[in-house]
Symmetry: C2
Amino acid sequence: MTLEDVLLQVESGTDKALETLKEYCRFPTISAHKKAQPETAAFVRRLLAENGFEAREYPTEGGPNVVFGQMMVDERKPTLLMYQHYDVQPVDPLNEWKRDPFDPTIQDGKFWGRGCGDTKGNLIMQLLAVQAWRAVEGRPPINLKFVVEGEEEVGSPHFASFVHANKEILKADGATIEGGDHLHEGTPKIELGCKGILYVEMVSRTASVDQHSSYAAIAPNPAWRLIHALMTLRDAKGRIKVPGWYEDARRPTARELRFLKSSLFSSQALKGFWGVSEFIGGDNDFELLRRLIYSPTCTICGFVSGYIEQGTKTVNPAVAKAKIDFRLVPNMKQEKQLAKLREHLKTKGFGDIELMPAAEKLESAAISPSARVVKAAIKGSIDAYGREPEVWPWSIGASAHGFFNEVVGVPSISGPGVSYDGSNFHAPNENIRLTDFVGGSKHMAAMFARM
Amino acid sequence: MTLEDVLLQVESGTDKALETLKEYCRFPTISAHKKAQPETAAFVRRLLAENGFEAREYPTEGGPNVVFGQMMVDERKPTLLMYQHYDVQPVDPLNEWKRDPFDPTIQDGKFWGRGCGDTKGNLIMQLLAVQAWRAVEGRPPINLKFVVEGEEEVGSPHFASFVHANKEILKADGATIEGGDHLHEGTPKIELGCKGILYVEMVSRTASVDQHSSYAAIAPNPAWRLIHALMTLRDAKGRIKVPGWYEDARRPTARELRFLKSSLFSSQALKGFWGVSEFIGGDNDFELLRRLIYSPTCTICGFVSGYIEQGTKTVNPAVAKAKIDFRLVPNMKQEKQLAKLREHLKTKGFGDIELMPAAEKLESAAISPSARVVKAAIKGSIDAYGREPEVWPWSIGASAHGFFNEVVGVPSISGPGVSYDGSNFHAPNENIRLTDFVGGSKHMAAMFARM
């Protein structure tokens, strides 16, 4: 009964692991401010080395080091690759934090501090699983690799080139990406890939200076022009009107739909949380979830033109800008969709509207539910939690899956990790529940056995 | 040859008048900051009294005093009413001023200082005409009234109630409103009324908080909703689609079109100044001018939703706001047009979009080119400048004409006043040309004789 012993060992090792997590979370590694990156990378490398990994730092051109570690126990055994990042989001507004974000605290059954959920806690939780195996069996039952970068929170601008240059060392039979989370009542959740994102800024400039709005009868207006252009992109029900947009979009399989049928997703909860009275697509939870997962989207994340402060200003503006977020489902690729968008705008007579894609390189990715890593994650959930996890075909958010699935060819999943749907990622008072930390670690320990 | 003597007398009195203008412009009467209003009102009252007017201040409820002065020379003679305001616009950005805005200077044939054009210079220029008549003839040839308010630059929120309560004292055979201006090469310009303005804020709120944009497949988006609502208001060529919008709009008369045919309006100059490559309505100057004057407009002065700073944020916003400026041509009234707009949005299914009209009460107004005050202004132009003025049926901007034409029943014109098209109203380095100050005063002196 090795696994049972290992799971018990995870519990015994938890307090010490949480102390290590405190140390890790004290580094104020805000990548947006380029803070504390070298010392945090060194800490991660030492941590991996102390836990039996061959570990080294890989410099990137103009970015912080990527830490890579591996523990090859037996070449005939499968290999699991774990991706994390050692950077965190900025902490403002600081006055909304109940505690110092970089002086982590345990209170009320929770661990509080910036990065504990996203994703410093996941690395320590995974190492706890390794420690438990080493304590009980001397070594883990499979080969393990860690890759930990320092710029995920600013869109991983240097990670792509690291991955392309180091495909060989990243090879594995499966990968886990960051954390994922648990539902509020504790159900673990896994996702078999992610959506991709194409984020573009559209700019209409119709003059070099603003004009008095009394001239609007003859002077062109960039906000009107941008609105006319936007109207060619999407209809009122959210369907994207760019020709061929859906061509490559992956469609649901019967097996994926079965996962969704058993989902605990509740649109009612979201409505209450957001204060939304009606969802696009009605009130049927299964249909809404299907839509959420399989629909490419075209969202106005921001729009600005002219005078936007209190009161009136009679101005015909010179410029209007929109920030548009296209979520792509698996098989749709950024570059191809961007080319379709450009072509469409040109065809519709909006070639004057500037189209600037963001540097973000996160591509969509999906893997088969039959992949070894998926099966291991589901079995591991039964071992660790006594039940099957909630399975989503892929995450509706964008993540690093594309780098592994598409570039290296390693099928990847996310979750359940250490967090839950109240973890306040990117927000004040980031926290994880200690039960999820323990559950996540047991799940990893079990996954090692089930790979 | 009395008028000739009076015009010469204007020239002799100019230096002293400019000294008075300096005194007047030293008051930092910024109504947006409620600055120096009582002392400036008192200065204006004293000035009127010193020039032979019966003058007093009228308190307004919650606003600054309105100054009213009259000089009744003969009840059988016509009466001219002159409207000015003693307040000015804020001066920021201060670092763009070449001189202290409230320490007026004469240099390069120009008078520099905040308010010299809009409209402190006009009051002093008009008083110079009165002084010239008094010096030559002992009194002006007609009855004169001045009404000078202190809140024009913040939309005259208390002037309407003053006008309604004091219609009797404001009665006259004609009125001049603020200044107006000269074209760059010196041609004087007059306008026989003004457009009105209906300024509304439209707000779409689809949730109580922003959502992560990964939920956009099911979460409503207020920017998209507002855009769909806006698209029902106006077509790409600027035509307003609200049913019955144009019903009341005054159409051009043959006489008005003759004025426009002889206009010196040049769209080429505007294009260069604004950096606009193409105007709505083509390149024919006469057609563009007709459009400018007779077309009601629907302009997006401002639009804001979601994240508008540098870089990307993946957010599905909760709120979108647009500031819309409807310019109304004579006969169209704010309240009626607003009711049509409300009804239209409701009918189109956008009853959820909040519609908030600004407090601005400036209505459209137009008078007949046959009115006594118009004839006097045209004849006065020949006397003062040796040529006919450029005549526009009305101003494309909104002004106080409605208060006089519609409420009191006094036909009113604007122009040419003391300024020119480079006077930088509301901007840094406000200035007037001394030649226009003299020309404007001679024009007023001649108008007195021609009424």
